[in-house]
Amino acid sequence: MSTLHTINKSPFAHATLASCLQVCSKQDGILLLEDGVFGALISAPCAEEITTLIEAGLKVYALADDVNARGLQEKIRRDIHITDYNGFVQLSIEHNCVQSWY
């Protein structure tokens, strides 16, 4: 059973991404949205943990509109998938539960 975790706070100012990474499993997905997309930067706190988990199988997504709005199109790491609102719905269906780390 997998969980979709959503993160909407910047990891530079909040610990929500760090908390999520502590307890998520490698079968899970993480969707970065709103200010959470700053977590897709290679300079983000927790970047190393994200790399380790992605290598173990975790999928990380970032919401395109929020990435673009903040001018991060060229800055986000390549191992994070860009998705849109339809993709968000699809991810919610594919995972058993959704946990919102607000």
Partner: protein, 124 residues
Amino acid sequence: MNQTPSKKLLFISRHAPYGSSIAKDALDAVLASSAYDQQLSLLFMDDGVFQLLANQSSDGIGQKSFSAILPVLPLYEINSIYVHYESLLKRQITINELVIDSVQIIDSAAICSLLAEQDQLLSF
């Protein structure tokens, strides 16, 4: 009448008491849900562990004390009350400072498994 099979619901409470209504909302939701015959559990992590401190005297700020509310949870058939070990450790809170003693202290790896076995997660 058809009995709908009961679901496993985990309430996750991650915010400190009093500063906002989130922590209180979580408890209200748990207590309300207890009327519907589901399998309820509650997890405190991050600043949510501050809700569990004994000796909270909140009269001065005009709010009801969590020290008074939390001990009634076991009476409402809340299956399990979990507390995240690393969150306690980071805040240097020891088990004997907690207002309820029927809690299960679990680490991150155990929470990972706990999340995977739920039908529904409710985050507060």
